[in-house]
Symmetry: C2
């Protein structure tokens, strides 16, 4: 579902159900590993079983749900081994996006990006000195989204978003924690500088380093 569905008309019913089920999963109402009963869900939501079935199938390819023939759908259980793979994948796409953003800054396709990056970095710096972890976390996500958006590669952004959602399934929200804010900010600045300079290779390297050390920091916590 790449569609923005900004139409005046109500989106399709199956689409609403899909969004609701996705919310249930990321919010933890549906725990990882649990089996999703089509009939039960249809009763809860007040729609037919076929509709919830369609919603489930459409969610399956996003990685949040595993389908087993003749047995049903299960909320995906993200293992530790998978987390490493997801980090690798996310890092590769993020590095590519930063490189593409730098390219688009250099050729003038994204004239406003430099200013927006600078402002975002300043806001993060403020959050850091105030030790407002919650705010920093939000700004951190916005920073990443900004670069993914500026890369002009919608499919990359969709895949990236799905990866992030799937990561959150690992031991409920453990990945939300931002540690070592000062170090994290330094890396963000390095990325921002490279993108603003239009240096594609530096941007790629800085982004890759950021994700890699993010994984390292996270692995360190798991003790």
């Amino acid at each position: 579902m790449t569609g923005k569905a900004i139409g005046p008309r109500r989106a399709t019913l199956a689409g609403e159900v899909r969004a609701e089920i996705e919310r249930m999963i990321v919010d933890g109402d549906l725990a990882a590993g649990v089996k999703m009963n089509e009939l039960a869900l249809s009763n809860i939501m007040g729609v037919s079983r076929g509709t919830v079935r369609e919603a489930i199938r459409s969610l399956a390819d996003s990685g949040l749900i595993d389908l087993v023939a003749n047995r049903g759908a299960f909320v995906h259980e993200t293992t530790l081994a998978e987390v490493r793979n997801l980090y690798d994948l996310r890092g590769a796409i993020f590095a590519m996006a930063c490189s593409a953003s730098a390219r688009r800054v250099a050729d003038g396709t994204e004239p406003s990006l430099s200013k927006r990056l600078t402002r975002k970095i300043e806001a993060m710096q403020t959050a850091l000195v105030r030790e407002d972890t919650r705010l920093y976390y939000t700004l951190n996500i916005e920073f990443h989204d900004m670069l993914l958006e500026a890369a002009g590669n919608p499919k990359a952004k969709t895949i990236y978003d799905n990866l992030v959602k799937e990561m959150h399934l690992f031991r409920r929200r453990g990945l939300s924690i931002v540690t070592n804010l000062a170090r994290s900010l330094e890396e963000h600045i390095a990325i921002s500088d490279a993108v603003i300079a239009g240096d594609t290779e530096s941007a790629r390297a800085a982004a890759h380093h950021h994700i890699t050390s993010g994984l390292a920091r996270y692995m360190q916590i798991l003790d």
Copy 2:
């Protein structure tokens, strides 16, 4: 579809229909941009409309099909601008996979990979001197698949395969052509050597260079 139904694709009828529709699209029986009529397809295949509908929906997020609410499904039309984005994405994932493969060679997780890579390279060399383009093309795909597989990241491989399929939708099979075989082989050797040496960074760089120059060669043809 990552953790999806492991095992026989023909476990369910909808699965078969999905495979058949996918074949129709990649083979060109269903041209890019054409609207897919659920009823017509269900009559042709001798199954109910609901089943073909489910098959279409499950294919949608793979990138081969575009869904428009209340209007139907259309075979995705890949534009030139998109091809560049697809190359970027594919390059990022392939580079990551080569780096991961190098890592797994170094730590002994993939003991047989080095030998298999060497053999594949030798076969490609043979195809080159014989000027057997068709064979080289096949070996080329197998070489890439081997590295994606060795990376031990099934989701990455799934995404990669979908990207390749979507690329083939651009002006029917234009991307199948392998040009400049000698140059291509050199790049493959560089990748293979780095992976065998367990040098993650060199593997990443060589892989990235390979995809990038592949795009450049392809763009050159489009004149």
